[in-house]
């Protein structure tokens, strides 16, 4: 037997207390690890989805809602904009490129996006099978949609109104899947892409209208207006022509048109700020838990030191150096800390993965526990530093203990 094994024997001799301290440490670590994973991956995901788009121009309303609906595809749109106004904006010298987005339906919770070929370019999406849509009622599906629903070119899918899976179905207007996209790690993986004119076609009987030549489906598959009325799309995803456009174009849109301009980067940051309040509260809560756990280890070690002072005195009589006794106490504390942190990381990552699997089932945020967040190294380092600093107090007490005095007191 050596001193590290003796430290383990001391821990094993009081299993309930050891389990309690390890569990407390693990819960604090798990909460912090989970929050780090969640916030890091959410930020990464938002940044990745928002990066290709400089500005979204859509109907007036909440700018955050506009971004959530047209970039992240998790909310209902603020409304529609006139195609004529959109086309006028496309011609603006500060606009380098504009991608139309026409929303309205979904396929089993995956949004059907009426757009054109430039949409794939925005996210650098490549076809894994089949071809791009070139005619009305043709669809290209994202990799996640294809995987979850077993879709391949030639499959037929039907949209339902709205984002909910229970919305009224458009059974009379099935889409034919003509292509499947390779995974991109972006929102595109969870979308069904069709031409704008397909969306109009499906909604014709709801008062929809025909597309315009400028922002319609690729391949010139135009559908003539059948019911008249104003032509509309949901939004335009704009790329700036110059850096100056970032300052001028939104102001121009908001001040001189009936449309609203919103910056995905700004709204993402605002969203993170809004969510961040809750995350920050949880983070503080976890830190308090962690501090309590570390203090409980201190209390445990101090109590153990008290009950074991004769053991320490005996070890001195057997030749153990004071530093070895301090090391014994430290080893006990570090074992508790190590077990707590390892278990906590496993729990945190496990919880993140379980939540990710649950969210993935609903086609939502793809959280994974099989990755590290950058802050986790700091978390482990911080816990180790705080824990070891705490354990040093009883370790120094052990170092300074006088065996003759202790034995005489017995």
């Amino acid at each position: 037997m050596n001193l590290p094994r003796l430290a383990l024997a001391y821990l094993a001799a009081r299993p309930f207390a050891t389990l309690l301290h390890v569990t407390m440490l693990a819960l604090g670590t798990a909460t912090l690890a989970f929050l780090l994973l969640f916030t890091h991956q959410a930020e990464e995901r938002l940044a990745k989805d928002a990066k290709p788009v400089d500005l979204v121009v859509g109907a007036k309303g909440s700018p955050l809602q506009l971004i959530l609906s047209t970039v992240f595809h998790v909310d209902v749109p603020t409304g529609n904009i006139g195609l004529d106004e959109a086309e006028a904006l496309v011609a603006h010298p500060m606009v380098a490129a504009a991608t139309p987005v026409a929303l309205g339906d979904s396929f089993r919770g995956h949004r059907i996006v009426g757009t054109d070929a430039s949409f794939l370019g925005l996210y650098d999406a490549k076809l894994a099978a089949g071809r791009d849509f070139s005619a009305d009622m043709e669809a290209v599906v994202g990799s996640e949609v294809a995987r979850r629903h077993g879709l391949a070119p030639g499959a037929k899918i039907t949209g339902a109104h709205g984002l909910a899976q229970s919305g009224p179905a458009h059974d009379e207007h099935p889409y034919e899947v003509v292509g499947v996209l390779a995974p991109t790690g972006t929102v595109v993986d969870r979308l069904v892409l069709v031409s704008v004119s397909s969306v109009w076609h499906v909604h014709e009987h709801h008062g929809g209208a025909a597309p315009s030549p400028a922002l319609a489906a690729p391949g010139g598959a135009m559908r003539p207006p059948s019911q008249g009325g104003r032509l509309e799309i949901t939004a335009l995803l704009v790329k700036y022509a110059t850096p100056l456009a970032a300052a001028m174009l939104p102001r121009f849109v908001n001040a001189t048109t009936a449309m609203q301009a919103a910056s995905p980067a700004y709204e993402s940051a605002r969203l993170l700020d809004l969510v961040g309040v809750g995350v920050e509260t949880l983070r503080w809560f976890a830190l308090v838990m962690m501090a309590s756990a570390v203090l409980s280890v201190l209390a445990a070690l101090t109590a153990a030191l008290q009950s074991r002072r004769y053991d320490l005195a005996l070890l001195r009589t057997l030749g153990a150096r004071p530093a070895a006794l301090a090391g014994l106490v430290l080893a006990e504390g570090v074992t508790l800390l190590g077990a707590g942190v390892i278990l906590g990381l496993a729990l945190g990552h496990g919880a993140a993965h379980a939540l990710g699997a649950w969210l993935a089932a609903s086609g939502s945020f793809a959280l994974t526990g099989l990755a590290w967040a950058p802050g986790e190294a700091m978390l482990v380092g911080g816990v180790a530093a705080a824990g070891i600093a705490t354990c040093l107090v009883p370790a120094v007490q052990a170092y300074l203990s006088d065996p003759a005095t202790l034995l005489a007191k017995r």
Binding site: N2, L6, A9, A13, L314, T317, A320, P322
Partner: protein, 214 residues
Amino acid sequence: MTPNPAMLEVRGLRQVFGGRTVLDLPEWTVARGEACLVLGPSGSGKSTLLNAIAGLATPTAGTVRVDGESMTDLAPAARDRLRARRIGLVLQTLHLIGVASVRDNLRLAQRLAGLPPDEARLAEVLEGLGIAALADAKARDLSVGEAQRVAIARAVVNRPPLLLADEPTSALDDASCALALDLLLAQARACGATLVVATHDQRVRERFDRRLDL
């Protein structure tokens, strides 16, 4: 070179606590292989003397030489090494590491003395003290009599040339007292060790070659 015939040499040893002299021993020598009794009432300085010999306490004045080395002049680390290698201690409380097995208690003594693991020696000592069957028992589960044997086993496992025992019999009945003393004397003889027993127990006075009265 002829080994020093004296295992233990004490010169002018004095220990003062709070202005009160608790030990004053001008000169005392114990020969190699001798069994010596230090007899005196409680508070007479017996434990203080043993602590000074073992290097667990620094005396106010005087020197203690163990096997030719001056314990009182050594640095703390060297004192710990000397104690671990050359002195076996049987404490009054028979204190064992309760969470460890009997075998591990003995292994700790080997390891802390810086000696390589010697399972054959462990088996020999356990056998010699009649506790081989208890080798894997946790020390906290032992009876007082069993713990006493284990404490002796731990003191002799490294074959120290000097064995110190502090009140090894005072809490025992007559039969146990005799048995404990038999074991101590037998183990000291088996190791060729010098034995110093400090006690106030008058029952043991006839069993030793020499006696120091404090």
